[in-house]
């Protein structure tokens, strides 16, 4: 009998039923571990996660978590998350009401043969060239996750690409409000 294949990871496209949780947390050691540990032990799936100091207050950080609401009911995820003592506030933005943006950085090795097609891709994606030398170009795109997906796909044809994405942050569209828990 052949042994089962080791898990090599899967390309994890944004789940259809995703929600964006904006979680205000105390800026204390271990907070991220508490959140990650909770998701792991309860079997909730995180699609992406972005953390940064919260607006104008060093005491708090804002964690933007894209959760897979298929993996567990949103009510359970929010209820358990809210029990973490360091979690101060949770708002939930449903995808249709969300203005979602993500940052993509990519360095592509390039030569005379493919430079033109690369520049076309960059231009049509609306990305900016932020660094360049004789052999390579670094581009940046701040756009919707879908646009980032498209650029990522378009760059697949290039042989040597180093690409990083931040995970998304989101705000409610004007006239819409996030659901506060």
């Amino acid at each position: 009998m052949t042994p089962p294949e080791p898990f090599l990871g899967v390309v994890d496209h944004t789940p259809v039923r995703h929600h964006i949780l904006s979680v205000l947390v105390e800026n204390k050691a271990g907070v991220l571990a508490r959140i990650a540990g909770l998701f792991a032990r309860r079997g909730f799936n995180i699609y992406s996660l972005a953390v940064a100091p919260a607006e104008s207050n060093a005491r708090f950080s804002r964690v933007t978590i894209v959760v897979d609401a298929e993996s567990a009911p949103l009510e359970q995820i929010v209820g358990q998350l809210d029990k973490l003592v360091n979690v101060v506030a949770i708002t939930d933005i449903s995808p249709k009401d969300a203005l979602e943006r993500e940052l993509l950085l990519a360095t592509i090795q390039t030569d005379v043969d493919n430079r033109t097609s690369l520049l076309d891709i960059i231009a049509s994606a609306g990305a900016a060239i932020v660094d360049v030398d004789a052999k390579s170009v670094t581009v940046m795109l701040a756009a919707t996750p879908g646009n980032c997906d498209e650029l990522e796909k378009a760059l697949e044809g290039f042989s040597d690409v180093e690409l990083h994405r931040t995970g998304r942050v989101a705000l409610p569209r004007l006239g819409k409000t996030a659901h506060a828990y």
């Binding site: 005491r59 009510e75 359970q76 209820g79």
Partner: protein, 571 residues
């Protein structure tokens, strides 16, 4: 006033009204043990840190006040992980202080270093790594606030050695704001609309059941429960965690539901049209196969923890609150179901057909374990506290002991921690020295934590331990008999090894043994006459006895198996 961190820690505990710490010193916590000498707090020196944790739990369950344990870093801390996990599962208020290696050594794999805040992250309500001596009072005050409010639970404070050795200017928080817990809001305003929708469901009910869980005890709602139940005539079941919340002698009490619940309690839930859950969490040991659980019932779910709502079972009405205010609000609204005479008639017929039974006691032994528990109960003074380990003896204790008041049943429910009984009984006796405390234990459980009887003897804590010695890991044996074709794998322990009487005597306790009914009565009387030292009784019980009724794991509660004596329609 300048104090050392260690002095501040002890003074903070005194400030919280702590009268007892269960603990065991070691390197990293050493500084704190020095000011303890001058403190009014009683320290109980345990023989193993697990004992300290379970004692603190027993203390908390018997008194309703948080239990406090203190241990050193590394293995001291990991040894108390099991009680912390146990308290987390049963929502028991606990404050555990652990020593930690000096701040500068954290992260270097120092001697007796372990990441105890990391280890206990998932099994504490919250934990703290104290970063400065000045922060100690805040950490202690916050820990007690967290442990005792909202849904109670264990809180751990990890204090590095350099912090307890440094100095601070004494202060103590006087308001909740000073606890620095901006994300913690345990008080929730009662949702009047939810209360009204619940009242409407109650008013419409024809076959309601009050499903009473541990949260009812935690919110001290027994009086309100009694008043509400008597006014509405709704039948009551009390889960393993809620035994004592409603008197067993009350005619409306159907007993415990679940895997080894009373037939009438299990069946009433299955047939009810309204299940009123009061601080219960639809544990799998109660529900059995979830889609088949209470299939005709609408559900009112009252819980202080909103994460319990719709976790296991959809709640038609969810009321986020502790139990007592909700019962008062329902009484104020005169919530009253339909006439329940027909429902009660049905329930009485189940009670008559399937009461709790066990095989006729044999005069020459071996003893029936159920008979032993009944005999101890019959000779116990009212208000006696009973602890148990985990397994058959625990189920029999819950079934055959008559619980009449809160705080008299000390057991490990959610975690199912073998070895809980003896240390928990010691903790309960420390908290309630006025009460007689019996530990109903199994031989397997007893062997896990029996060394704490040395603690009990040396600290003058006269508990009584009844070992239902069937020479087996009895519950596992029962499952192997019923579900593994009687293929017994690693469950035999021997009735004679160890010699429990000699072992008890070696630990400074009185050791007694009973192999037949006559001796059983004699040794119980003798144990009851001894009130200065712990007593251990080795009751030789029948190893073939099984716990009934039983719902097999994962089966529907409709497929409850009654005692063999009751099969084929016979009583």
């Amino acid at each position: 006033m300048q104090l050392s961190g260690a002095q501040a820690l002890i003074k903070s505990l005194e400030q919280q009204g702590v009268d007892t710490i269960f603990g065991l010193p070691g390197g990293a916590i050493l500084p704190v043990y020095d000011p303890l000498i001058d403190s009014s707090i009683r320290h109980i020196l345990v023989r193993h840190e697990q004992g300290a944790g379970h004692m603190a739990e027993g203390y908390a369950l018997a008194t309703g006040r948080p239990g406090v344990a203190m241990v050193t870093s590394g293995p001291g801390a990991t040894n108390i992980v099991t009680p912390i996990g146990n308290a987390h599962m049963d929502s028991t208020p606990l404050v555990v202080v652990t020593g930690q290696v000096a701040s500068a050594a954290i992260g270097t794999d120092a001697f007796q270093e372990c990441d105890i805040t990391g280890i206990t992250m998932g099994i504490t309500k919250h934990n703290f790594l104290v970063k400065s001596a000045q922060e100690i009072p805040r950490a202690v005050a916050a820990a007690f606030h967290l442990a005792t409010t909202g849904r109670p639970g264990p809180v751990l404070i990890d204090v590095p050695k350099d912090i307890t050795q440094s100095t601070m200017d004494w202060w103590y928080p006087t308001t909740v704001d000073e606890y620095d817990l901006p994300g913690y809001r345990p008080e929730v305003a009662l949702d009047q609309q939810a209360v009204e929708r619940a009242v409407a469901l109650i008013n419409a009910a024809e076959r309601p059941v009050l499903y009473v869980g541990g949260g009812t005890l935690k919110s001290r709602a027994s009086k309100e429960l009694l008043a509400f139940a008597e006014r509405t005539k709704i039948p009551v079941v009390t889960t393993l965690m809620a035994r004592g919340a409603f008197p067993d002698s009350h005619e409306q009490h159907l007993g415990m539901p679940g895997m080894h619940g009373m037939y009438s309690a299990v069946t009433a839930i299955q047939k009810c049209d309204l299940l009123i859950s009061l601080g219960a969490r639809f544990d799998d040991r109660v529900t059995g196969k979830i889609p088949a659980f209470a299939p005709h019932a609408k559900v009112i779910h009252v819980d202080i923890d909103r994460a319990e709502f719709n976790k296991v079972r959809f709640a038609d009405v969810a009321v986020q609150s502790s139990v007592a205010p909700v019962l008062r609000a329902w009484d104020a609204a005169s919530a009253t179901p339909h006439n329940l005479d027909v429902w009660w008639k049905e329930i009485r017929s189940w009670q008559e057909q399937y009461p709790l039974v066990y095989d006729e006691p044999l005069a020459d032994g071996p003893l029936r374990p159920q008979h032993v528990i009944e005999a101890i109960g019959a000779k116990a003074e009212p208000g006696t506290i009973v602890s148990a380990g985990v397994g058959q003896h625990q189920m029999w204790a819950s079934q055959f002991w008559k619980f009449e008041e809160p705080g008299t049943w000390i057991n490990s429910g959610g975690a199912g921690t073998m070895g809980f009984g003896v240390p928990a009984a010691i903790g309960a006796k420390v908290g309630r020295p006025d009460r007689t405390v019996w530990c109903i234990d199994g031989d397997g459980c007893f062997q896990m934590t029996a060394q704490e009887l040395v603690t009990a003897r040396s600290e003058g804590i006269p508990i009584k331990v009844a070992i239902l010695n069937n020479a087996y890991l009895g519950m596992v044996r029962q499952w192997q008999e019923m579900f593994y074709d009687e293929r017994y794998s690693e469950v035999y322990l021997s009735a004679d090894l160890p010699d429990y009487v000699k072992w008890a005597e070696a630990m400074g306790c009185v050791g007694l043994r009973a192999t037949n009914s006559k001796q059983m009565h004699e040794v119980i009387d003798e144990a009851n006459s001894i009130n200065d030292v712990p007593v251990v009784i080795d009751f030789r019980t029948d190893s073939s006895e099984k716990v009934f009724p039983m719902v097999a794991a994962g089966a529907s509660n409709d497929d409850i198996q009654v005692h063999p004596l009751q099969r084929g329609g016979a009583k």
